[in-house]
Structure formats: structure tokens, C-alpha cells
Symmetry: C3
Subunit: 264 residues, 3 copies
Amino acid sequence: MQAVLEEVRRSTPLVHCMTNTVVPEVTANVLLAVGAAPAMIDLPEEAEIFATVASALLINVGNGSAEQHEGMRRAAPAAVSAGRPWVLDPVAVGALPVRTTLARDLVAQHPAAIRGNASEILGLAGVSAGGRGVDATDEADSALATARELAATSGAVVAISGPVDLIVSADRVTRVTGGSDLMPLVIGTGCALGATVAACLGAARAAGLDEHDAVVAAHALFAAAGTAAARTTHAPGSFRTAWIDALYELAPAQVAELVDIQES
Amino acid sequence: MQAVLEEVRRSTPLVHCMTNTVVPEVTANVLLAVGAAPAMIDLPEEAEIFATVASALLINVGNGSAEQHEGMRRAAPAAVSAGRPWVLDPVAVGALPVRTTLARDLVAQHPAAIRGNASEILGLAGVSAGGRGVDATDEADSALATARELAATSGAVVAISGPVDLIVSADRVTRVTGGSDLMPLVIGTGCALGATVAACLGAARAAGLDEHDAVVAAHALFAAAGTAAARTTHAPGSFRTAWIDALYELAPAQVAELVDIQES
Amino acid sequence: MQAVLEEVRRSTPLVHCMTNTVVPEVTANVLLAVGAAPAMIDLPEEAEIFATVASALLINVGNGSAEQHEGMRRAAPAAVSAGRPWVLDPVAVGALPVRTTLARDLVAQHPAAIRGNASEILGLAGVSAGGRGVDATDEADSALATARELAATSGAVVAISGPVDLIVSADRVTRVTGGSDLMPLVIGTGCALGATVAACLGAARAAGLDEHDAVVAAHALFAAAGTAAARTTHAPGSFRTAWIDALYELAPAQVAELVDIQES
């Protein structure tokens, strides 16, 4: 995990983000803070090209336009053809029809990772009707069996975010505990986590590091920064600032001291 | 008023926001700070569905796409059919033709509240040509007669934001004084107020509380947080952070101590 | 330069921004902090009208929709017809085809200024393939000859942003040194600089001040605020807040003390 975070800082992976209308700015600031470089490109013609150039691609199906959705359908296979990892963030999938169809179609396009809350993972798999917006109404563990099956069928590392994050591959489950209750009160912490998963995967694939470790690294860094920031403030406005500062200031070697990581 | 703010914190109303391209992030962070849950959903097919599920709907006609406008036209009647309150924020209406037509069409769709500055309320009613962008070039009181007529004909509570906020129903006018001169220097304080009006209305309607009081509650909370934040800083970057912290930290019982509320 | 900054604070120029999906909020907050008024308007029908009313227009060709691009094509000539200055920010031009065609078409529409990093200026002129996203992979000085030719042929003041900013007219080059290494770690500092160039040009043109000086003034103010903010913090989250505070708090007379300005 530490090796992946060091590789991100060393190589500055360029992350192509196709994300929702709410979080582009915080996503970009988070990627810069962790040592990556963001580029938001949604137009279909440009997205298809850029996905082959960037280190990794994020597709977040939260609030977007029909034009952006067309771009996502073209960018995902382009990234795969070029050997680039891409991450699917199935925001509110299961609850809303257009994005549910889109996300299920995209699962067949070989994402390297899928990151969502338990409701979204269950909604993507067709097991539940999804959460209310970005809320997690299911506990992470309730989605474990579904995540394991999704990992096996899609080939992706599946991450279920919650008070305890579960990172699930076909043969491995990692639990990351840390962070702060204030994180869900700052919009975009989940969406920016998806982008950071992409950054870690981009750096890991280029350097030949383990991709399950890369997904764990992103979650551990986020939780560690949340733990650190919560020591300085108790309200969400100043927490947001402190958390971005912590993402920037934490050395990779400090991350493991601030979170609990369990393998099973 | 205090009862409405307590009900927001107790019930976490889900606010469906269809808003302009500038303010989604700050709007979401404000809704989270006041105890509500945001969801931005603009695609026509999804917006029409989600408006029936959310506690309340915000339609802010500031900078949006033709696709989003189509979604707004479908979402407003869907919300009304499902018994959900919706709020119209007529940004720069009167000054620009597409949004003026849109906003005037939407007034006929039974908004529970209309919130804007004096220029926008006058522009919506066809009395003036509207302000320059989001600036208020008319004083709130100059729009009082127009607001009262708009309240009577539309059935909405009409709120005119300014140094003194006027909340106007057919038979009641409430004046809220407080806040800070720094608030107009932070983008989205007005737009996020529209979203918070929706949160308060969603909570109030579900609990059977008075809807004029709900609109007053949102304005009082915003002004109180502005008053509190202005005690800690004199520049807009740090004011923005302090203001979001104050929205989160102020207990409903503290709000009335920080603002002046006059009924007439 | 000081006269331009004073004129901005005195006249509150209204800046019509057509910008990318990542930076509208920070751009608006920066414009408010420096004393201008922002309005983001992208719909073609409205943009064409508003460009004739605003003090100045910014066209930033970073991530936008086809609908917005159509609006840009209509707004630029409308601004020129009305005697309003407009600024072109050629984000990632050279690297991506749709925006490269758009930006090259727009150069023929008489921009008052063009602002980008060295890669983007070279990409706009067709000299290189552009940078990777918003990164500057070329040093500012390497683009000087190209910028001088672009200034001569387009009639625009051409600004090349970097650790040292170069402001280039056909017969004058100004170098501005200052700021902080943290500025590239805050998304939108470059894009908001383009908007502030527009604000300074809008104020300068209305008051009959020199337009090269206006472009210098925007760069000097940004660098001075960066220098001031870097004295208070060493991480990008808190730097962003301190930098916006400094943009608001710095008096025009203080700017020259915090940066180095060389004419040649």
C-alpha cells in the first residue's frame, strides 16, 4: 500500500475524470493534493481520445448529461484498448433508470475497480433498489456477498465505502477503518475517493504493483486524512479544508499509523 | 421557526436540486451543514421520477442547459402531483429571455415558495427588466407590493432577499435582519438559501408545520450564521468556511438570538 | 497597473464568464474578491445578448458542452460588436481536437487578450501538440517568440502563465515574478486569472486605461496574493482560503511591493 502511495507522488498519474456536476472542483483539488493531475474531459470525441492518453479514467455516473453519457460509453472501451485502468462509481444506481442502464452496460467494459456505498453496489448488481441519492442505507457488510460475486464476474476490485470500507477481490477482502463522521457531511468525499482509486490504479499499473493494494491505498489515505483532520476541527467547513491539507501533508509512511487495515 | 429547524435536523429532508452550473457544490455542502440531504438530478427522465421521491424540489433557473430546462418543466408538476413542495429561484429573470419564459411558465406550476432578490421578483412579475446577473439593483421594499400580488396569484410564499429579507404571503409579511456584508461576496449564498428554503418546506410539510414559518426559518438561519461568522473573520475566503461551520453548529434555539424578526 | 486595480474596485465590472465545468465556483469567488461581479451564461441565445451588456467576456475552452461551444461562437463577435473586450483561455488546446478547432476559430474574432500556459500558447499557434491537460510542459520563455507573433497577428495581448508570467504585446514584454508553488495545486487559479484579466480589461476599456497594463495588473494581483498567502500556510486547502482572502484584502498600492515586474 505504501509503495502505491509513493508511486503516485513519484509519477503524478494523469487522471481523466468524467464525473457529475457537483464535484469536479473538489475532485480536482483532491487529486492535486494526493500528487496526481486531474483532467475533466466529457465531449465524446475528446473523451475517447484522452482516455487512451491518461494514466487512468474515472467514470462517475452521478448527475450528468446525455452528451456526457455518450462520452462515457466511448471512453471506457478506449481506455481498456490502450491498457489503461478505469474506475466505475455507480452513484445512486438502482434508484434511477438512465444511470442504472448506463452503469450496468459499463460493467461489461472491464473496469479495474468499482467503488460505491453498499446501496449502490447492491443496486448495480440488481439486488436492491439502491439508496436515496448518495446516502448509504445498507451497511457495507450486507453487500459483501454481492461484491464478491461482482468482483468474480467483472474482474474488477470492488470497494464498498462506509464507516468501515471493504475492498473485495475474488479471493481477498480488506477492511479499512478510520476517518471521521464529518466526512459524509462534506460533499464529494466519496466521489473524490473514486478519482483517487483511479490515480492509485494508474500509478500501480504503470509500475507493475498490485491493483487490489492500489484500491486499499486510496481508501487508507482518505481515512487517514479524515482521522488527522478530525483532530483539528469539529465542523464541516473547516474540516474540508483541514482534510485537503492532510491529504497533501501525510507522508505515505504515516498512513498506516492512522487507520486500521484487516485482511481476510 | 425553531420547530421547523428542529424538524429539519430530526428528519433529514432529501432535497432534489436542479440548479445552475456555478453553485452545486456549495449548495450541497450547505444542505448537509443544516441537516438535510442533497441530490442533484437534471436528466429529464430521472428528474421527473426523483421529484416524486424527494422531500422537496429546488428549481434555480440560473445558468443551465436546454436539457436541464426540459427536466425542470417535467419535474415541477411531478413534485406537485406527489404532494411535494417545490421552490423557484428566478436568477436573473427579467434580464434574459430563455430563463424568463421558463420561470414565468413555472410560476403556473404551483411553487410553494419563490425566492429571489428584489430585481428578480420584479423581473419575474414583468415589472422591471431584472438586475445585472445576480446583483440586486432594487431594494427589497420596492418589490413588496409586487411580491404580495405574486403571493396572492401564485399561492406561493415569496421571499425577497437583501440586507433585510422580506418573506411575503398574501396576508403576512415577515422581515428578517441579520447576516453580514460579506455574504454577497461568497458566491452561492443566495442560491443555497433557495435550497435551504426547500429543505425547510420539505420538513414542514411532512410534519404539518406552517410553510410561511418554514421560509422564515431558512432565512433566519442563514442570517444568524452570517452574523456568527462575521465575528470571526473579515475576508470572504475564510468567511465562507466560518459560515458553513456556523450553519452546522448553531442550535435552532440560538438562531433567534442572532437575528431580528419583525412581523407585520 | 495600480490605476487599473483601483478602477476595478471603483467600477465593479460585470464579467460574463463562459468557462469549463470545473471552475465556475472558484472563478466567481475570485471575481467577487477582486471587486468585480461574475455572471456565468452559456445558453447560445442568452450568451449572445449578455455579451453585449457585460463589461467584458471570458471564453475558457476547457471542458464544455457542444451547446456551450455554440454559445461561445455567438458571444465573441457579439462582444466585439458592442465594443466589449473578451479574453480567450485556450485550456489544453493543441492536445484535443474539438477545442483546438474552436479556439483557433475564435482567435479570428479579435480577442483583447489570450491567456494560457506555454504549452497552450504553442498549441494554439500550431507550434506544439499542447500539454497534458492543464499542465505546463513548456517553460514560458520558450513560447515568447510564438506569443509575440500571435500578439502581432491577432491584435491581442498574449499572457503566458508560469513561475514567471510573460505579458506580450507586439512591441512590449512584461515579466511578473511572484506567487507560490502552491498555486498550481489549487484548481482554477489559472482559469480564475483569465476571468480577472477580463475584469481588468473591462474596467480599463471603460476608463480609457492601457490594456497591456490591465493584463499585467491581473497577473500582478494574483502573484501578490499568492506571495501573501504563502506566508500563512504550507498546504493547498488552507492556501486556497488564504489566497482568496488576500485577493480581497490587498490594496492596489500594496501589490507592487509583493511582486517583481520587469519591462523589456
